[in-house]
Amino acid sequence: MDKVEVVIVGAGLAGLSAAYVLADAGVEVLVVERGDFPGSKNVSGGRLYLEPVRAYLPGLFDEAPFERQVVKERLTMLTSESSVTVELASDRFRSSPANSVTVLRARFDQWLAEKASEKGAFIIPGYKVDDVWMEEGRVAGIRSNEDILQADVVIAADGVLSFIAEKAGMRECHQPRNVALGVKEIIELPEKRIQDLFGLKAGEGATQLFFGSITEGMMGGGFLYTNQTSLSLGMVISIHDLMQKHPTISPHDLFELFKKRPEIEVLISGGHSVEYSAHDVPEGGLKSIPRLYAGGLLVAGDAAGLCLNQGITLRGMDMAIVSGVLAGRAVLDARQKKDYTAESLGIYEKYLKGSSIYQDLSTFQHMPEILSNPRLFEKYPEVASELLLEIFRVDAQPKQKISRTVLRTISRELLKVDVLRDLWHMRKI
């Protein structure tokens, strides 16, 4: 039987970040990846927040193959016939180093894999792990078909479905309430056209998030990110809500209806779709985080449910990178003591709890309940757009004072028990 110091399952952002840290410290580390190359199975919307990760891997991201630096943010609320968009542009977003950037995973993960390899990590694509290998009640390696590879410690960085965490008994089976489905299309457009559409200079990018009637009352929304020569357009929808929807609608049909909205049609017209992808997203927040460590095992990234839907932002990539680094550091500590028991590896949880990503998960721990309120997707966009329609329209009848229109809308639509209750709940975020 072969043996190495550390085996990492999954060459996604969590696994590769852990590999980078470990290889950098001279540890013998092997990353096994089921895809033909790192990134070939991975999907994200595409915006990576750099601030939370920079201090953990100083300098590493300075030359990363990012698509664009985000300098403009749009948020669009949709009703069946109208939309209200808020746009935020600021010179602060143009600062260097960037606050957030867009990425395409096939490219980005391969780059990170190269960086980890340069440090000495062995990355083995085309290798699917079937199970953990147990010895004396603790994880002591991995199994793939008949092959067993022993290791002092295994890091499960195998993404949202994480069969490794499940097989090692770290968590129960998935609950539809805690998982969302993401669907996405890559639509190619000339670089110049993308810049003109969003009012950007070369290298600058925009994001646009959509919520409201497009999800037909289901928790979720749409997203659009600009890449160098393409748009990433997609939707994320709660699996629980998809299951409960009456009449049913297929995610693909829902997505096509979204693409037919005039707000989207103008942006993608003349573009060529070149890829359609789907991937699940852990959205249960803090309460769905599994056990993070056991004897010989650590769990990082999506596999550990470390993903945060903040309503207007989805953050999983920065959390994957930070948790990967912290898992790496925990292994270094354990290695120094030559002690890979649960007790020794438990330092990982301490590191995580002390990190800003965990604090953010904690601050926004009530987000899943708040976002599962259908009024957020139906009623409130409706009220906002009705109010603005009244303010902006000029009819044959004389207009009322704006203050009156606003007050009337508030008293008619918002001074209601359910609305006040929603407001009360929102104090938690």
Binding site: G39, K41, L104, P176, G182, I186, L242, E256
Partner: protein, 92 residues
């Protein structure tokens, strides 16, 4: 764009020997009435055949796992495809 055209955009390495998703027909027929798998799959791969059996066209699977999460009856034996097979994202 219809779903066939959309899946036509993707690169698949098809495993013609084995499906990575196995359906327990017994469970589907005796216990399941809602058939969530039929309407949650982003590739519309599930279908009932003329014998009333649930089928999945696994060759077009995007490997998201949604059917596996949604099936409340444990009727699916769901694995990732063998190494070297399945969808290959060129952008992601």
């Amino acid at each position: 764009m219809n779903i066939e055209a959309k899946l036509g955009l993707d690169v698949f390495q098809i495993d013609s020997e084995q499906s990575h998703i196995l359906i327990d027909q017994e469970v589907c027929q005796s216990r399941c009435t809602i058939r969530y798998c039929l309407h949650v799959c982003p590739a519309d791969l599930y279908d009932l055949n003329e014998n009333g059996e649930m089928t999945v066209d696994y060759e077009g699977c995007l490997e998201c796992g949604t059917c596996y999460v949604a099936c409340r009856e444990d009727a699916l034996e769901w694995h990732y495809p063998r190494a070297g097979y399945g969808v290959q994202y060129r952008f992601g």
